[in-house]
Amino acid sequence: MPIGTLTYPVRTATRIDETNHVREDAMFVRRDGSDLFCVLYRPQTPARRTVVLCPSFSKEAGMLYRLEVDAARAFAVRGYAAVRVHYRGTGHSGGDRETATLRNWADDAKAAADIATELTQSGSLAFCGIRAGALVAGLAVAGDTAIPVALWEPVSDGRRYFPAFVRAQNVFTLATQGRLTKTLDQVRLEIETDGYADVLGFPVYRALYESLAACRLWENLASEARSILLVQVGVRNEWKAEHVALGDVLAAAGSRVERVMITGEDPSKWFVIAGAQSSARLIETTLGWLGRLEGAR
């Protein structure tokens, strides 16, 4: 069945949970000549809304993978459809990673949303951006006022994400090999000269680097008023300046911003240490917000 340049399903595996009857369709869909992998979770009853989960990337995507899966399953148990996607060139998806940009990945998220909408017959969407996935979600919903967005420990400024990524690499190599790998300037030079940099075994190509450097979450989200859930996950019980500024800018632009702080988990671990576990509070908080969206309709 074609949707623009999209053909689905190409190959699908389905399971229906024996206890909660949630249906999971893991599928490869054909898009622009390559396979896009996504998983759709459907409740037994007609979906109240479809949540599109936009994952982070690099090491974080792996560390937070299970959180994403658990969240999608929990949403479906509570009556919401959910769809997860692997952006082109990442995970199980095919496609050229060398030329992929945040904009391409936002298109992939929108393609997953189209498939979910078609298969669930539910027109109401919400996007959920996880860490750098918030930048992707922001791009995907820009210009559409009706779509609410949940932001989980969002990266609000793409320029600041890449240096954090390089720092994580240096912390890792310092801990395991007793030395620093590369300075930020060296990594930038590598991208300029070779077209890519190898950061902890993850290739960051020039196209992604440049699109990341140019992306500001508040610019994409503040163009339209919408419902926004801003969740900060951290160790300390105090708001980060980055999130305060983001919330204020979005509220000033007319969005209804709900701010929640979850303490007791260290997001710095999401880069390199296999310690990040599913946060039940994070999922429950988002479910509460989704419920209030239904009440407001």
Binding site: A13, A26, S34, D35, A61, Y65, G89, H92, Y196, P203
Partner: protein
């Protein structure tokens, strides 16, 4: 099949025209996996990639830096069908796994996968396991019919039942099974050493001073060698357990491996194979496994 020298990009040209998602029932859980099929007629041997049962949160179908995706597609280009899957409680599979315990390997999941692949006509299998997945392969190999080869990548030599990996604090902690080892003459010294190290290291990352390889591990490796199954032991010289492995090869493990002669190969790559923290080491690992698969496939034909 390998990328040209000087372009260490294992992810080049990643395309997935042959990937098929599958759910495999293993007891009460459903394991998610992806079968990669070559474009042309497949070769006789199929490959199963077996990950640790806490492979980070992403699961074994992907592995760190999507290494298993790159490996599966590279081997498929060489004509092999490759199945990669998420262990119970990881990735897209169902279930819960909050600790890494080498006393509780997920061999049941591997047997379920093997049965499913045999049902689909793949009865000549090569198992490639990494870290805890290597231990799973070693433990299960004797009971896998039609086994054509086994690869043990960066296999930890921690004795079974010696505590669990506390993921929240990134350290090993004692378990009941470990304490019961005090009653076992073969394990007593190791348990005492481990307890001492735990007491010293509480709150910090521990080091495990095991001087000998546990008899269970020796037996499992020995079984593979006696069955004349082609065996590759692959390490990176920056792997955390590599020094322990080198020490072990000077003792009983070395004696067992020497009995394998032509069946056993050992390869040590320059870098960290356990974490695959550079594109170069990923590319070297893929190249090494492609080469060994050719060797294993031709050897078993003879």
């Amino acid at each position: 099949m390998t990328a040209p020298v000087g372009t260490p990009r294992v992810h080049d040209n990643i395309e997935a025209p042959y990937d098929t998602p599958l759910w495999v029932r293993a007891g009460s859980e459903m394991l998610f996996g992806v079968l990669t099929t070559p474009a042309g007629p497949p070769r006789q041997q199929a490959v199963v990639l077996v990950a640790p049962h806490f492979a980070g949160a992403a699961g074994g179908a992907l592995e760190k830096n999507y290494f298993n995706v790159a490996l599966a597609r590279s081997l498929a280009k060489a004509g092999f069908r490759v199945f990669r899957y998420d262990m119970r409680g990881t990735g897209d599979s169902t279930g819960m796994e909050r600790e890494f315990n080498l006393g509780r390997l997920h061999t049941d999941g591997l047997f379920a996968v093997v049965a499913e692949l045999r049902r689909r006509g793949m009865d000549k299998l090569v198992l490639i396991g990494k870290c805890g997945g290597a231990r799973t392969v070693a433990a299960a190999a004797r009971r896998v019919p039609g086994l054509q080869g086994a690869v043990l990548i960066s296999m930890p030599l921690l004795p079974p039942g010696m505590g669990t990996h506390d993921l929240n604090h990134d350290r090993i902690r004692p378990s009941v099974g470990m304490l019961l080892g005090l009653l076992d003459g073969r394990r007593r010294l190791a348990v005492l050493r481990a307890l001492w190290a735990w007491l010293r290291g509480t709150g910090r990352r521990m080091r495990w001073p095991f001087p000998r390889v546990h008899p269970t591990i020796l037996r499992q490796v020995g079984d593979l060698i006696r069955a004349r199954v082609p065996l590759l032991l692959l390490w990176g010289n920056n792997d955390g357990d590599y020094a322990n492995f080198v020490r072990a090869t000077k003792g009983a493990l070395g004696t067992v491996l020497a009995q394998g002669r032509a069946c056993v190969q050992m390869r040590v790559l320059d870098g960290n194979v356990h974490e695959w923290t550079s594109l170069r080491i990923q590319q070297q690992t893929v190249a090494c496994l492609e080469k060994w698969m050719e060797h294993a496939a031709s050897g078993r034909r003879r």
